[in-house]
Amino acid sequence: MNWVRIRKDSIKINGTTLPTNHCGMEMLKEVYKQLIGGYPKFFKMDALCRLGFIASELLLQQESPRITDTERRAVILFNRSSSLCDDRSYQTTIQDTEKFFPSPAVFVYTLPNIVTGEISIRNKYYGETLFCVLDKFNANEIFQVVKESFLDSMTNDVITGWVDCESDDDFEASMILVGPNDPDFNPDFINEIYKHN
C-alpha cells in the first residue's frame, strides 16, 4: 500500500525521505514547484488545502496508471483542528469594526471539507467526499469509518488519512490509498505510518 507522511519539516513517501530545502509552507511550495506544477489554483488554496493537495499528489504519483474521472474513488479525511487555521485568518478580517473587510476568498476555506473538494476537482473524482473531526488522532476510529465506507457499493478505494493544520508552518499529514481487501489496511498500519514516520 502506498503512503505519504508529511511533517512540518520532512516528507516521506513509502518510507523514503523526500529531500527538501525548506520547512513549513515554503516546503509545500517547493514540492509543488519541483514535483507537481501546472496547477495555479494551488496558490489560491489555504494551508489545509495545500497540505492535503500536496499529500494526495505525492500519493497519486505512486499510482500507475493514475486513475481519474471516476465515481469509484472516495476521499475521506480526518483531523483535530478542522479549518481553524483559515478560521483565524477570516476572524482577523472581521475582528475590528473599523477595519472590516470580510473576504469570500478567505471565507470559503473556513470549512474543513473543502480540501476533499479540491482533491476531487483536481482528479475528477465524483465519488464520496467526507471530512470528520476527532479530539485526537485515533487510528481505530479512522479505520472503522473508512472500512464502513465500503458499504457504498460504488466505492472501490479510498484516499484517506489525517490532514491537520494549526497554522501555515505547523501541520502534519499522513495519507494512504486503500481498497477494502488490502492486507495492510488495519489500525496498526495507520498507526505505524502516523507515529513512526
Binding site: E71, V75, R80, S81, S82, L84, D87, R88, Y90, Q91, I94, Q95, T97, F100, P102, S103, P104, F107, V108, T110, L111, P112, N113, I114, T116, G117, E118, S120, I121, N123, K124, Y125, Y126, G127, E128, T129, L130, F131, C132, V133, L134, D135, K136, N138, E141, Q144, V145, K147, E148, S149, L151, D152, M154
Partner: protein, 380 residues
C-alpha cells in the same frame, strides 16, 4: 434494518418535534430582520433564538450554564429531549455512540471579545457533550459543510449495519455568529427578505439556528410503525469549491445511488436543500429532472427555519417524517412562482399524501452532495 426510535427538534419555533410541527403547520417562522446584531453593519434576515433562551432552558433542565457554551447547551437540550422518549437506550454501553454534525461549532470563541466557556476545537466540544450524558465510546464529528446532517446519519447507519454499534445518537447543530453571517454576506448569498425557494424572484438564503437529534438502532424485525433509514450516498461535483455544478452532477449521482432498483413513483416526496440562492435551486431542479423526479412533490423547509447548516440534514429529515406521518407534504414557505429552468412540483400550500417514503437531499461548499432514502412500513 436501521430504524428510528426517537427524535427531537430544538429551534426558535419550539423545543421538541411536536411543537415544531404544529408551528410549521400553521405557517409560523421566526425569520426576522436583525439590525446591528453582533455589530454587523449590514442587516440580515435570520431565525435566531431569543437572547438567553438556550441558557434559560439549559438551566431549567438542571445544567450548569457556566460549563457549557451556547452551542453545547443547544446540543445537550436536543439530545436530552430525544433520550427522554427512548429510556431503553443504554448510553454508557460500548454498543452506543454519538455522532455530532456541525459546520462551525463554537467558532465565535475566536473573537477576542468572547467571554463564554466554548473552545474552538470541535472534537473537544463533542467530547464535552458526550461526557455530559456518560457515553463511553469515541464521539465522531462530521463537518462536511451544509451536507453534514445527512453525512452524519449515513456514517451512523453504516456503523449499525456493520455491527460496530447497536444504537447511534446523531445530533446536528449550529448557532449563528458574526463570523458566519459576515462570511455569507461577503459571498452575496444572503437575502434581506424572507427567502423564496425555487421562486422566480429568489435572491438568496436566510440563516438559522437549531439543533435536531435522531436516534437509530439496528433491528432484524421490521416494525411497520417506525421510520427506516434505507440507503444513503455522498457524491462530489468535482467541479468547483463554492459554485454548484451546472449539470447537478453530484446531486444526480447521489440520488442515482440511493434510488437504484426503486420505482420512482413510490417516492412521495423529495425534501430538497432549497436554500433559495439562484444557483442552488437551479442546480437541484436540473438534478431532479435528470433523475426523473421533477414531477414528484418536492418541498424545502428553509422558509421556516432559514439554513440551519449542521442541523439542517437532521431537522429536515425529522420534520419530513413527522409530516408524512400526518399525511402531509409541508408547504414551501416563501415560494410563489416556479423559477427554475426545469419546472419542479413545488407548492406554497400544504398538500395531502399517502406517501410513506421520501428522499432527502443536501448540497454544500466543497462540491459535496448527499441523498438519503427513508421509508415507513413494508413499501419500497
Amino acid at each position: 434494518m436501521i430504524e428510528k426510535i426517537a427524535d427531537n427538534i430544538t429551534s426558535p419555533l419550539g423545543m421538541d418535534t411536536a411543537a415544531n410541527y404544529e408551528a410549521v403547520l400553521k405557517g409560523y417562522s421566526c425569520l426576522k430582520l436583525h439590525k446591528c446584531k453582533w455589530d454587523i453593519p449590514e442587516p440580515f434576515m435570520a431565525s435566531l433564538f431569543e437572547d438567553g433562551a438556550i441558557n434559560d432552558n439549559f438551566a431549567a433542565m438542571g445544567g450548569d450554564v457556566s460549563l457549557y457554551s451556547r452551542f453545547e447547551q443547544l446540543c445537550i437540550l436536543s439530545i436530552a429531549e430525544a433520550l427522554n422518549q427512548a429510556p431503553q437506550v443504554d448510553i454508557s454501553s460500548d454498543r452506543t455512540a454519538l455522532v455530532l454534525s456541525t459546520t462551525k461549532g463554537n467558532v465565535e470563541a475566536l473573537d477576542i471579545g468572547y467571554c463564554g466557556s466554548g473552545n474552538e476545537y470541535l472534537g473537544e466540544s463533542a467530547q464535552k457533550i458526550a461526557d455530559y450524558f456518560g457515553f463511553t465510546t469515541t464521539p465522531l464529528v462530521v463537518s462536511n459543510a451544509c451536507i453534514s446532517g445527512l453525512c452524519a446519519q449515513i456514517v451512523a447507519m453504516r456503523s449499525l449495519e456493520n455491527g460496530r454499534y447497536d444504537t447511534m445518537i446523531v445530533v446536528g447543530a449550529d448557532v449563528q455568529s458574526r463570523f458566519i453571517v459576515t462570511g455569507f454576506q461577503s459571498f452575496k448569498a444572503l437575502s434581506q427578505e424572507q427567502c423564496k425557494p425555487f421562486d422566480i424572484n429568489r435572491q438568496g438564503l436566510n440563516l438559522g439556528e437549531a439543533a435536531a437529534t435522531v436516534i437509530y438502532r439496528r433491528t432484524d424485525n421490521e416494525n411497520h410503525d417506525c421510520w427506516q433509514a434505507v440507503r444513503g450516498a455522498i457524491r462530489n461535483d468535482a467541479n468547483h469549491i463554492s459554485g454548484p455544478s451546472r449539470t447537478g452532477e453530484g446531486s444526480y449521482r447521489a440520488m442515482r445511488a440511493v434510488l437504484k432498483g426503486i420505482e420512482l413513483k413510490e417516492i412521495g416526496l423529495v425534501n430538497v436543500h432549497g436554500t433559495s440562492t439562484p444557483y442552488n435551486d437551479e442546480m437541484e431542479a436540473i438534478a431532479l429532472g435528470r433523475i426523473g423526479l421533477n414531477h414528484a412533490p418536492i418541498n424545502t423547509l428553509k422558509g421556516y427555519y432559514g439554513h440551519t447548516m449542521g442541523a439542517a440534514g437532521v431537522l429536515e429529515t425529522v420534520l419530513s417524517m413527522r409530516a408524512l406521518d400526518d399525511g402531509i407534504v409541508l408547504a414551501t414557505r416563501g415560494h410563489e412562482q416556479c423559477g427554475t429552468s426545469v419546472p419542479v412540483n413545488v407548492s406554497a400550500q400544504h398538500r395531502n399524501t399517502n406517501a410513506k417514503s421520501f428522499v432527502k437531499l443536501l448540497s454544500g461548499f466543497g462540491g459535496c452532495n448527499a441523498a438519503m432514502l427513508f421509508k415507513k412500513g413494508g413499501e419500497t
